[in-house]
């Protein structure tokens, strides 16, 4: 999966409509980001990478880029 494809999917999974996500967007500062968003990210990553992210790991993320790093950049094709 390409990073851009992931970001577009993430935007949909988090149901963010007001802004367009990019690598530098700080997720936790978004109004829409809440405890359900953590589950939405776990589900989205589980579905696309068969990778398990824990709540503790996700508590440490800030930007989209930090999420990409947490998943592992080697998992993206670009």
């Amino acid at each position: 999966m390409k990073k851009q494809e992931f970001i577009e999917g993430l935007q949909e999974a988090l149901e963010i409509e007001k802004i367009k996500l990019d690598e530098n967007t700080n997720l936790i500062e978004l109004d829409e980001y809440d405890s359900l968003s953590v589950m939405a990210i776990i589900a989205f990553v589980d579905n696309n990478f068969s990778k398990k992210l824990t709540g503790i790991e996700l508590a440490s993320i800030t930007t989209v880029q930090s999420l990409l790093k947490l998943i592992g950049l080697e998992n993206f094709s670009d």
């Binding site: 809440d34 359900l36 589950m39 589900a43 398990k52 824990t54 709540g55 996700l58 508590a59």
Partner: protein, 332 residues
Amino acid sequence: MGSIIKTINYFLPKNTISNTDLEKQFSDWDSSKIENKVGIQQRHVVGENETALDMAYEACDELLKDFNKEDIDFLLLCTQSPDYFLPTSACILQHKLGLKTNIGAFDFNLGCSGFIYGLAVAKSLICSGISKNVLLVTSETYSKHIHQGDKANISIFGDAAAATLISVSDTDKIFKFVLGTDGRGKDNLIVCNGGMRNKTEQKPIEWTDEAGNLRSNNYLFMNGPEIFNFTIENIPPVFDQILEKNHVLFDEIDYVIFHQANKYMLDYLRKKMNIPKEKFYNDILLTGNTVSSTIPIALKNCIDNRIVKEGDKLLLLGFGVGYSWGGTIIEI
């Protein structure tokens, strides 16, 4: 000789908390989000002097109007909200209901998997010749375990009781069980204080978590992301094991009822497991997550609303606190 679910009745306490009520209480709480994502519009909660035992009585009393109570020869009560440390609530319930004294009765402490475990025990009692008519009761008041400032858990959980009559039958309508336990998950859904390990603190330390919920060790703690991870990792293989153990193909299953945790989780599980929407129950709109009673409530609603009919095969699967899980197939 086999066993069959003969009838189900459930009881919901009178008081309700609507999403609008929650929005008034917690200014930053978005009620439309709760309804759309978690799938809950209101939850019933007991009054201050009302307990799980009281709800259990109500659920059973109604059910026993259509059944000779002299024929009940075992009483099982699943609760994590007993009236007392001792005696066991089931003994008090036996007396309140006026059941015979020459019957067995005990409580067992399980949450969202409790109904399935109760079915497994009821079937065992019947098939071993110990009992002919087992009254299985699930009754829970998580509202008493939740901190009044814990908006997340207040939003999710509702109180309820269900009574299910399981009887001896010529043909076995309750099939084989798959049961599982993993105590490594104990810290992810727990009321830390109040038992023998940690006594209730008179002046507990309170803190606000990252989502703005007030917490203390005297009250229920749920690590949502970890429970979610446990579920999406463990439940799909358990589903397959239930089919395999019973030599039943998925196509032969008419309907699927999982523990009704929340709409979001069930939607994700359904999609991940490729279960068609029309074969899958997902509705806690007016009750919230009632822990051990979600499956019997769903089952009764499905029967009453003719979503399922006589002869249908249903796969039931409960999972949660412990961790503990269990599933089986029943025939209506």
